[in-house]
């Protein structure tokens, strides 16, 4: 009888341990901080705010902030929408509005042509100074993946709703003006090991000490990393 109980306990502990290990593996599988492929210094310079901003990536917050959050995201991804709606406003309020942190958006459109169209459209909105407004508009109106809500035609509708200059916007979107930027974001993400969205890489403003957060995690996860980096 005692042997049976012991076997049951061992089996039970093993089951839970396997689940936890699997969970940790899944959490780390998109490794935003998988930087082993590239010499650290070269990576640091590519992740520095000056480099990210000069490449045309949208930046939000004080550019002199000590910490930068680099977000890799897809407008069709439900969890990216969850992050934008639930966690991002808290980060903005506590860290970005107070000048402690800034945030850079990198495109990672992996859900078909509509994801690419939405990325291109958001950059076109950025040309008129409304990237972040357009970004929130898309995430707040997100529908089922691949249902056509993010088609190029619908993007023009969102642009009108936001009061953008339609002539400029349409010309930008039709000519795919920002395709090379979006494709280089995607390639950069893949180079540093991003395989899922949303993925966040939190770095010092010079691009050093990258730390990855995978998934639309709650605010407390970001707070833990940011407070440690800021030294609170």
């Amino acid at each position: 009888m005692k042997r049976k109980v012991a076997i049951t306990i061992v089996l039970s502990v093993a089951f839970v341990a396997i689940a936890i290990v699997a969970g940790i593996f899944i959490n780390n599988s998109a490794g935003g901080d998988d930087t082993s492929q590239e010499p650290q210094q070269a990576l640091d310079s590519r992740l520095s705010l000056s480099s990210l901003a000069s490449s045309g990536s949208p930046v939000r917050g004080d550019e002199s902030a000590a910490i930068t959050i680099v977000e890799f995201s897809d407008f069709q991804c439900p969890n990216c929408g969850r992050f934008a709606r639930n966690t991002a406003p808290q980060i903005v309020e506590e860290y970005i509005a107070t000048g402690k942190v800034n945030m850079v958006y990198k495109h990672f459109p992996i859900r078909g042509p509509d994801s690419m169209a939405a990325s291109l459209a958001s950059q076109c909105a950025g040309d008129q100074g409304k990237f972040w407004e357009f970004h929130y508009m898309l995430f707040n109106n997100q529908e089922a993946e691949g249902s056509g809500w993010a088609s190029a035609e619908n993007m023009k509708g969102f642009a009108s709703e936001l009061g953008l200059d339609r002539e400029k916007f349409d010309s930008c979107l039709n000519s795919e003006k920002h395709r090379s930027l979006v494709e280089s974001d995607l390639a950069f993400g893949q180079e540093i090991g991003v395989t899922g969205t949303p993925t966040f890489v939190i770095v010092n403003s010079d691009g050093s000490e990258p730390e990855g957060i995978l998934g639309a995690q709650p605010f407390s996860s970001f707070k833990a990393v940011l407070d440690t980096k800021i030294g609170l």
């Binding site: 502990v13 089951f15 959490n27 969890n79 992996i110 995690q217 407390s220 996860s221 990393v225």
Partner: protein, 165 residues
């Protein structure tokens, strides 16, 4: 009389505390896996559970709790059948139920699974990923149905061995 018959197998199995422990362990293990895949439970950078649960995740969370509990019960009942009865273990409904349950959790999390599907299978991978993401809840309901069927199969095997022939 009927209801007592329906729960007879459960009462037989769970009268032994070690089966209760095993059920809880299996259910907890699957609860962890489902919630990690759902993007509600995280182990890195800190151990964290998404609370309060986002509105869009509540139906999936309820379904995954039911699935985890059912997987625990069904595994345990099949272990009981394997050890105490000459009747064979019901494999197909259990495995299909837990597989559909796990698969339905995967792509909604926008995890690397959907990235691998897209990069490996191109448009077909994107379509498969979208299908699993958009039909997550119906897939989970199918998984619950399969697990209930697996429970019923195990129940019949246990009670059959009690009948006088």
């Amino acid at each position: 009389m009927r209801s007592s018959n329906a729960t007879l197998s459960a009462r037989m199995v769970f009268s032994d505390k070690s089966y209760v422990a095993l059920t809880i362990a299996v259910a907890v293990a699957f609860w962890i896996i489902f919630n990690v895949l759902d993007g509600l439970l995280f182990f890195s950078p800190i151990v964290n559970f998404y609370y309060p649960i986002p509105q869009d995740a509540i139906p999936g969370f309820i379904a995954s709790n039911i699935m985890a509990a059912l997987v625990g019960i069904v595994v345990c009942m099949n272990v009981y059948v394997f050890r105490n009865s000459k009747a064979g273990v019901s494999k197909s409904s259990f495995f299909s139920g837990s597989t559909v349950g796990t698969v339905s959790s995967m792509c909604a999390s926008c995890s690397s699974v959907s990235f691998y599907l897209a990069t490996t299978f191109g448009a077909a991978g994107v379509a498969a990923s979208s299908f699993m993401s958009n039909y997550q809840l119906p897939l989970r309901l199918i998984a619950v149905g399969l697990l209930i069927w697996a429970y019923y199969s195990a129940h019949r095997r246990i009670t059959k061995s009690c009948q006088l022939t």
